[in-house]
Structures are given as C-alpha cells and as structure tokens.
Symmetry: C2
Subunit: 151 residues, 2 copies
C-alpha cells in the first residue's frame, strides 16, 4: 500500500519534470482515498510556497473543509524542507512517507530533525527510504539534463 501511493507521487514528480520544474511529487491519502495529488510548481506559479507538499495540504484542507488533517498520510518523493515539514506539523498529518533524502534542507534527519524539537503541537510518524532509488533517480536525471544544457 505504501509503495502503491509512492508510485503515484513519482508520477506527479514526472509531471513536474515535463514542465521543467524540479521533479518532486506528493500524495495525501485518508482511509485509502486520495485527497490530493500535486507536484512542485514554484516556477510555474512564481511562488516560493508552491512546493508539492504545501499545494497538497492546501488541496486536502479544501476537500475536508478543515485545517486539521487528522488520520491523513502524506507520500513525498523527497524529504521535506523546513517549510513543508512545518506545514505537515501544522496540519496534524499522521504519517509521513518519503523516498529520497534531501541534503539541502531535509528536515527529518538530513539537515536537522523537526520531530526532535521540543514543545511543538504535533509530531507525525516518519518513514523514509520508500522506493528511494526511483525517487532519487528522477532528481539526478533532471539535474544531469540541466547541467548538459549549460555546457
């Protein structure tokens, strides 16, 4: 089940790649129902907050008509940045599943661990390394292509 939803997040990441966005995808699920499927749209929307996770949380809140996503799970191809890990905390998401580690701001172990900060309102359960190689390869291929274009 976890891999099934991560494959959908990977499809979303590929949609980002097709429009020349950094390929990161995300899915939010509750009771085996998909509430949101999104990909990074920072360049397309010209918005610093248009990461896949923020867009997904916004969509899921709209769908449930509430700001708290109790009992929801989020699947992300890349370890969230501080903004997105913070949004996951704010929305009370239950489980976080991610694929590739993010050495440039990963907030569940790579640069720091938001779940280790005391006094926050909520601490989701976090599982990493889900289809890690596939998630990581999409990013590697994307940046390899970018560098080739620059040569």
């Amino acid at each position: 089940m976890i891999e099934k939803y991560m494959r959908i997040a990977i499809e979303e990441a590929n949609k980002a790649k097709d429009i020349d966005e950094v390929p990161i995808g995300c899915v939010i699920v509750k009771d085996d129902t998909i509430l949101a499927k999104t990909h990074n749209l920072r360049e397309s929307l010209n918005s610093a907050i248009a990461h896949a996770e923020i867009l997904a949380i916004e969509q899921a809140c709209k769908k449930l008509n509430t700001w708290h996503l109790y009992g929801c799970d989020i699947y992300i191809t890349l370890e969230p940045c501080p903004m997105c890990a913070g949004a996951i905390m704010q929305s009370r998401i239950k489980n976080v599943y991610f694929g590739a580690n993010n050495p440039k701001g990963g907030s569940y172990g790579s640069n720091f661990n938001l779940n280790k900060i005391r006094g926050l309102n909520h601490y989701p359960n976090v599982e990493k390394h889900i289809l890690e190689e596939e998630c990581s390869n999409i990013l590697k291929e994307y940046f390899k292509g970018k560098r080739k274009k620059l040569q």
Copy 2:
C-alpha cells in the same frame, strides 16, 4: 521605520482578533513600499497553511511575479513557526522583524533557531523584540477573553 511597519502589522493582528482568529499580523515591504499586509486566517479559510506570513509571502510573490523576495523585509507580530520561518528562507527575504516570542514553536530562538541549521539555501537577518509588549498584549488579551468565555 521599523516601528512604523510593525504598527501596521499590529493593525493586521487586530483585524484577525475582530473575526475571532488568533491575532497575528504581518507586513512585507520592499524599498519603502508595502507589498503585502495580512493576518492569520486559519479558521476562516479552513487551511493549515493560512498563517499571516504564508499569505503575505504568497501575495508579495504575486505582486512581484517571482518566487524570490530579494531585498524584502517582513514584519510579524509573533515569532514565526517552523512552517513560516521555512517559507521566509525559501523566499529569500532579507530582514525579519518580529515582536513577541513564541514559546509554542518559535523558530528563531524560542524552540530552536532555523538560522543555526547548516546547509540551507538562505539565512535572513533577524531582529526581535520590536514593539514586543504591544504585540504580546494582543495575544494575551485574546486568550484571556477565550478563557473567560469557557468559564
């Protein structure tokens, strides 16, 4: 100048209070021009991400038609949470001015300091204690009123 803009952020916080939202206000300024004035709308919009800062960054990006807010300053009545400090980092805002400390997730010194995490893309300059008493009193009065209602 710093106090002038913080007073506008306080006006925004009061607008939040008037609609029974936790009273937090925010202003984004570039070259002495206000790009965004917002207040917390989490309950009104039923959205976990509808903090004053996220709404302000979204507005400012729209106004400048770009995801990076180089040279912009943000004024906030309360120390930002991890999501909002992360969004400030993502948007490359230059200066952060805030009023009251936030013991429930403050991310520039209270619960942790995002600016001390290595390997991030950007580190804004942060100044605290701006009109601290006024900023803090709005929140205290709000929660006192809430508790009274509950008795």
